[in-house]
């Protein structure tokens, strides 16, 4: 009996030891559920083979990604060892202690932030912004741009009709005014027996959609988050005359030229509208572009890619997307997580990342002479990344975002009030938040 008890205890002890050891040899990476995440699963197989560490993945669809993952971080959860969190989370990640500061690790492993595209370092890694305090490694570069139906634009009868009506060629628009003309031209038109529409734009209310879309336009119309000389001073910058004109433009584009029913649309709805041949142009993040190239309806040269057009004064900016990869401070596997980041930062891994559909942020990859010609959208991606701006990355970003979602949706989709009232209201909302934070 005693021998049996001893054997059972030993077996149990071995099991527990085995489990602990297995946990040490496993990493969980958390990200959004989208195409690049699938590519990362494939890419990470090389890491598994080299390190012997098993990779697990926790992917959450975009509409719930922030809710789910911020809850995880705020509760000090240990689900994720590595987090590819949105760029706007960096302030909260750093100040609330969710992320591990990576400066010492970068120094010890000769990982230089100079090797990455500057906009991605500022956008994804630095907090406070423009200081050498790094909380993540730029993992996936992304930016809002436009796709358009090159095959429709090239149809002689449409090109001729457009030229007659507008006095210029039907080519990719360079300004927002041109973009709206083209959208109006296509709106309600019959093409191949189907009614098509001008453009799909972001209008989603629940998470961040309409803010990403509206900001993508407002920047080029003169919107600024704050006084460059006085932080958090927003009066006359958020609600400047240019910003008001930009928001009015966004509403007019929504009213005149979007398909019926796209009043709560974000990335997924935009992809569907474009792939199904409903729209001539589509605003969406660059991550969607590789998918269009291989799509039977819009791939194979039918799609053109376009940097965000310029505003009325010739200014041209685009909304930054993308994420950095961080080590979660609550993880018990930080050593292994850092090992993953070290592996991921290698130029050959980054090169493979790009070929698999991941938008690398490493300069050695994107500045390679062959990069621009490597994909039809590569040059547009590069040009877009050079003009990016991002939303607040403050620890209170979620509150600030929630306010802009409400103000923009109220005006653009529901048609309540004026653009001036919406942006004045936004200044008031954001002021309260910064006052609560003790920053004003």
């Amino acid at each position: 009996m005693k021998a049996r008890l001893l054997a059972a205890s030993s077996a149990a002890a071995l099991c527990v030891a085995g489990m602990a050891s297995a946990q040490e040899n496993e990493l969980t990476l958390c990200w959004a559920a989208w195409d690049p995440a699938n590519a990362l699963v494939e890419l990470s197989k090389d890491f598994e083979a080299q390190s012997g560490i098993k990779m697990n993945f926790e992917f959450v669809p975009w509409p719930n990604f922030a809710d789910r993952m911020l809850n995880e971080l705020n509760s000090g959860g240990q689900l994720c060892d590595l987090m590819i969190g949105d760029s706007q989370w960096i302030g909260a990640g750093a100040e609330s202690g969710h992320y591990v500061k990576l400066n010492d690790f970068f120094d010890a492993n000769a990982i230089s932030m100079d090797a990455f595209v500057p906009a991605t370092v500022t956008g994804y890694s630095e907090w406070p912004k423009n200081t050498p305090n790094y909380w993540s490694l730029p993992a996936f570069g992304d930016v809002v741009g436009w796709t358009y139906r090159k095959d429709w634009f090239e149809r002689p009868e449409l090109a001729a009709e457009f030229k007659e009506k507008y006095g210029r060629d039907l080519v990719a628009p360079q300004t927002f005014a041109e973009l709206k003309d083209i959208a109006e031209f296509f709106q309600g038109r019959e093409i191949d027996g189907k009614t098509v529409y001008g453009a799909s734009i972001y209008t989603e209310r629940g998470s961040e959609g309409i803010t990403m879309g509206a900001m993508n336009v407002l920047y080029s119309f003169g919107f600024k988050y704050e006084n460059p000389d006085k932080p958090y001073d927003m009066q006359g910058f958020v609600n400047s005359a240019g910003a008001v004109a930009g928001l009015e433009y966004y509403k007019s584009l929504f009213d005149c030229c979007t398909p019926p029913g796209l009043s709560n649309a974000y990335m997924g709805e935009g992809i569907d509208a474009y792939k199904s041949g409903q729209v001539a142009m589509q605003m969406n993040f660059a991550f969607t572009w590789p998918g269009f190239e291989v799509d039977p309806n819009v791939g194979g040269g039918k799609t053109g890619y376009l940097v965000n057009p310029a505003g009325p004064n010739g200014e041209r900016f685009a909304q930054l997307g993308g994420q950095g990869i961080s080590v979660v401070s609550y993880s018990e596997n930080q050593e292994a997580a850092l090992e993953y980041i070290k592996w991921f930062a290698q130029p050959e891994v980054q090169q493979k990342w790009w070929t698999m559909g991941g938008f690398s942020c490493l300069r050695a990859v994107v500045e390679d002479p062959g990069f621009a010609a490597s994909q039809p959208y590569a040059q547009t991606f590069l040009d877009s990344m050079a003009i990016v701006k991002d939303f607040w990355a403050e620890p209170s970003y979620a509150t600030l975002l929630s306010d802009s979602q409400k103000r923009f949706h109220d005006y653009v989709v529901a048609g309540q009030g004026t653009a001036q009232e919406a942006l004045d209201g936004l200044v008031a909302d954001w002021t309260v938040t910064f006052e609560d934070d003790g920053k004003l």
Partner: protein
Amino acid sequence: MQDTPPATPADRLARATPPTLARKVRGLSDRSIAWIFVAPTILLLLAINIFPLIWTIRLSFTNFRANRPNEPLEWVGLRNYERILTDPDVWQTMQATAHFLFWTLFFQVLLGFALAWLINRKFRGNDLMTTLIVLPMMLSPAVVGNFWTFLYQPQIGLINYAVEFVTGIPASSFTMLGSVSLAPWAIVIVDTWMWTPFVMLICLAGLRSIPDYIYEAAEIDRASKWRQFWTMTVPMVLPFLMLAVLFRGIENFKMFDLVVLLTGGGPGDTTLLSSIELKREAFEKWRTGYSSAYAIILFVTVFGLASIYVKALNKVKER
């Protein structure tokens, strides 16, 4: 000699109980034993209901943010309550909630009672019909929200095509979920479709509890069908109907899932119900103190209204 009856399991258990323990149990009063049985439930209730409520009340007077637990807690007095009650946006969500609540209850009571009255007749296929009618309430709100989103889709949705067929208005010329004037009605329609069967079932229980002899007596007294309906059927079903209204009222006051899936609170804030706004404040903006105050206000509102209603219900029952 009398035969000894076979020992029951209770007898065996009694014999197996040590005399000291038996004496101790025998020493307990009925009241004590009742407390021993009830205590675990009371403790559980205290832990999962009363304590969180008290904790929420406490938080509602602070600036606490759950995503910044290390920041010093500041006592803000009634500031959160003042902010909420003077915020026009909050009143707008209250209005949206009231609109949703009133019209869903109105239609569900009307249709639920009508269906119950019809189903109560004896006809062939009665059981099958009842099963088919109650199907919607058996579905998950997530499923209902998603497929009604497709039904309302202006380009491919059946609803718009049905409207076009009946009225001639082009299907893609209007959008139920994206229109400020139509969206509040769109969510009322879906909730009514889903939950009318529930009201119907309760009304049916009420109708079936009315004894036949009352109607037979009325027939003998030559009371018309109309008079029977208003003076017998309606008063006797009324307590059941009021109970259904209470259940649906409380449920719809905290409606969240269905509306989030259908409209996300939009367009603008047109369908932003109180519970959706509360979730945003609590788990998106992380204003825990503020949202605690908001939750307390909603709780007091529901509790107050429900208490008044229950008193009315009891009076109706006593009649």
